[in-house]
């Protein structure tokens, strides 16, 4: 499954993030592949907001489509 298909409040484990640059940025924000995150908002047609602990990240729809996740916890 991909991140864009998550629903608000669902938890999922991030399996893969497409580009190396995005992976590096995600690591800085505290989110790595294998990590369990909460999907805290889905803007219709727009970005998906995920959170881990108190860190929130908005991810554009196009990128969310390429992030493989495994739900739900």
């Amino acid at each position: 499954m991909t991140l864009d298909r998550m629903k608000r409040g669902q938890r999922c484990r991030i399996l893969s993030i497409p580009s190396e640059l995005i992976r590096a940025q995600a690591l800085r924000f505290g989110i790595a592949e294998g990590e369990v995150v909460t999907c805290c908002e889905v803007i219709p047609g727009g970005p998906v907001v995920i959170s881990k602990n108190r860190q929130e990240i908005a991810i554009g729809r196009g990128l969310a489509r390429q992030i493989e996740v495994e739900g739900s916890f």
């Binding site: 790595a32 990240i57 908005a58 729809r61």
Partner: protein, 658 residues
């Protein structure tokens, strides 16, 4: 005196002085520390090739250097490159960390520690953390990092005395496990541990400096560092409560369309009331008319006329209609300065409260369709204030492709506040259906131009990937300070450009080129736009400033149809001289010329199209059948968007993050 090692950055460091570098993530309160340490005497150095200014000042016999807020140091963007170079040249790093966001902030801390430089951590926002139910074991954190950690509340100056007393106890900390051995191998060849680290992390710039191939292990090192940081956090952070505060709820409302759109409109309305009505009306009325035109201009005219008559050539250039000493100074100080201060005030307010990234999230979807991502909304909002200033802020966009699109759209479709004032006044006399026609035509041009550019330019826009910091109440003194600094820099940058613009137009006037151009334009204005011959004057004026142009139209006797055609044309017309000069400075000559040229084409094409369509639907009258014209434009927009969607399918896509 010696210079900072940072390549190109000129910071004077007296012999024997330590370079104390302030580093931290965005919005950790770093600037309060900087101001506290350096006091009033602050210098600013521009980093070559960028427009980022680095502040530095004296602290005792040492020098304190500020760095841009970053999440890590590498070569991802200008901010990082600068922070990287300054940190690599530091004798001591004071790392400001938010206690409320240790997981995110400690990544940078650990990276700085890995460079081997002596570090002291200011664990800031202890009060925020407490309110959020977060407890941090400071001693344990210090023990695990291997560097001193001082708890602070910067805005209340809590912990500052201790920080100052212990500043020099900064020491190299514990690096990410396993890193040391790998660095030792490189150290011989590179000579500095920090640079060796960045080479290993694949930083292309640092690797090139040493003639080495950049390493390919960034991800692995980042991952290990992240694991290390998570481990530390697990040991030192204790959550006592986890209640959802008002800020969290409001923050969510801001990004959901149903609540976010009304909140955004409310914010824009407040901004419009403050800047568009209060500043542009009341304040500018006083500064421009009463002070500058009422007192300053007559005084300077009188003074100059003692030496040269106003009708002479140097007289015209100095104190004539577009005079260097009259119009330039009045526009800059009387008109532009108050507007700029107002805009920077709101921008700082939005920035400090954490609202900007939420607006970006809210409108991301809309903007991706015109080749931008959510962050593109910031220059567009600013454009309604001043296109020149907005053009400069496109620097915050993540790719060159996005900057191209944003600058083009700003130059073509966004009317600035001064112009919007004149336009609104003229439209108001025609009635709401004309206002709708105007807005819809301009909006459809924005969509068409954006979609076309997005399709034709190679590549694909970056996807949104941003940190949503917690919402918080901005501090007035911080906001005012930011407003002051930014306004000053704007003035410094705009003044010479303005003077140049005035000089060019005065020269045109003196040499008769102005009149020649007027005649040259006439066939276009009369034949194609169906406007009276004199309307050409307005467009010539519009080259200098678009609000000039719009104002030039108010004196003409125009039918409703002619008014709407003229207003649409002048809105899409070339950016004002200040804007285009900034575009020349920001972009290549070729691109700036393209923007300027295509604005001419687009303005007359669209204006003429409206005129011809209106005549087609209502051959005899002076009025416009609004509905058919709007429908025709909607159909045209749909056709272009449809065509672009078709073209995009056949286009290879690449992914640029940001």
């Amino acid at each position: 005196m010696t210079h900072c090692h940072c390549p190109g950055l000129k910071i004077e460091v007296p012999a024997g002085a330590r370079r104390i570098v302030l580093a931290g993530n965005p919005n950790t309160g770093k600037s309060v520390f900087f101001n506290h340490f350096t006091g009033m005497y602050v210098d600013v150095s521009n980093y070559p090739g960028t427009t980022l200014d680095i502040s530095y000042g004296r602290y005792g016999s040492d020098v304190v250097i500020d760095t841009p807020g970053v999440y890590g140091i590498s070569s991802f963007n200008d901010e990082e490159r600068i922070a990287r170079d300054i940190i690599l040249s530091a004798d001591l790093v004071l790392n400001v960390v938010s206690a409320a966001h240790l997981e995110r902030d400690l990544f940078l801390t650990q990276q700085i520690i890995d460079t081997g430089v002596p570090v002291i951590v200011a664990l800031n926002m202890m009060d925020d953390a407490k309110r959020m139910g977060i407890e941090v074991d400071v001693d344990r954190l210090s023990h695990l990092l291997g560097v001193p950690v001082i708890p602070t509340v910067a805005v209340k100056k809590e912990g500052f005395d201790r920080l100052k007393a212990e500043l020099l106890t900064a020491r190299p900390g514990h690096p990410t496990p396993g890193l040391e051995e790998e660095l030792d191998q490189l150290l011989n060849r590179v000579g500095s541990r920090g640079e060796a680290l960045l080479v290993l992390e694949g930083d292309p710039v640092i690797a090139a400096r040493h003639g080495l191939e950049p390493g390919t292990r960034r991800e692995e090192i980042y991952r290990r560092r992240r694991e290390r940081v998570n481990e530390i956090c697990q040991q030192v952070v204790r959550e006592t409560s986890r209640d959802v505060g008002v800020a969290t709820i409001l923050g969510r409302w801001m990004i959901k369309p149903l609540t976010g759109v009304p909140i955004l409109f409310l914010a824009l309305w407040a901004m419009y009331k403050a800047i568009g009505v209060f500043i542009a009306g009341t304040v500018v009325g006083i500064t421009e008319e009463t002070i500058m035109q009422g007192i300053y201009e007559p005084a300077v005219r009188q003074f100059v006329e003692q030496f040269i008559p106003q009708s002479s050539i140097p007289g015209t250039i100095l104190i004539g209609e577009f005079g260097l000493l009259t119009m330039t100074v009045t526009y800059l100080l009387g008109l532009l300065m108050p507007l700029v201060v107002g805009f920077y005030f709101f921008l700082s307010l939005f920035e400090d409260s954490g609202y900007l990234p939420r607006i970006a999230t809210l409108v991301d979807r809309l903007l991706t369709s015109i080749g931008l991502n959510g962050r593109g909304v910031i220059p567009i909002i600013l454009g309604f204030g001043c296109v020149t200033m907005a053009t400069i802020t496109t620097r915050l966009l993540s790719s060159d492709r996005e900057r191209k699109i944003a600058i083009f759209l700003l130059g073509l479709t966004i009317p600035c506040s001064a112009q919007l004032g004149v336009i609104a006044g003229m439209l108001a006399t025609l009635g709401p259906q004309y206002v709708a026609l105007y807005a819809l035509v301009i909006f459809s041009v924005l969509v068409m131009a954006g979609t076309l550019l997005s399709t034709l330019l190679p590549g694909k826009s970056a996807d949104l990937f941003i940190d949503l910091p917690p919402l918080r109440l901005p501090r007035l003194d911080n906001v005012l300070k930011k407003t002051g600094t930014k306004s000053y820099h704007f003035l410094k940058e705009a003044a010479p450009l303005f003077a140049l613009g005035a000089l060019i137009i005065s020269t045109f006037q003196v040499t008769g080129i102005l009149e020649f151009l007027q005649n040259l334009l006439a066939p276009l204005t009369v034949g194609w736009l169906n406007l009276p011959r004199e309307a050409a004057t307005a467009f010539i004026m519009g080259i200098v400033r678009r609000d000039f142009g719009a104002a030039g139209l108010t004196d003409l006797a125009l039918s409703p149809l002619q008014t709407i055609v003229a207003l649409i044309t002048i809105t899409l017309f070339v950016p004002c001289i200040a804007s285009i000069l900034v575009i020349f400075k920001e972009r290549t000559k070729k691109e700036a010329l393209f923007i300027w040229g295509s604005s001419w084409v687009a303005a007359f094409l669209v204006g003429g199209l409206v005129a011809q369509l209106a005549r087609l639907f209502n051959p005899a009258g002076d009025k416009v059948q609004v509905l058919p014209v709007v429908l025709a434009f909607a159909a045209l927009t749909l056709a272009i968007v449809g065509m672009c969607l078709f073209l995009r399918r056949t286009k290879p896509t690449t992914n640029i993050p940001g």
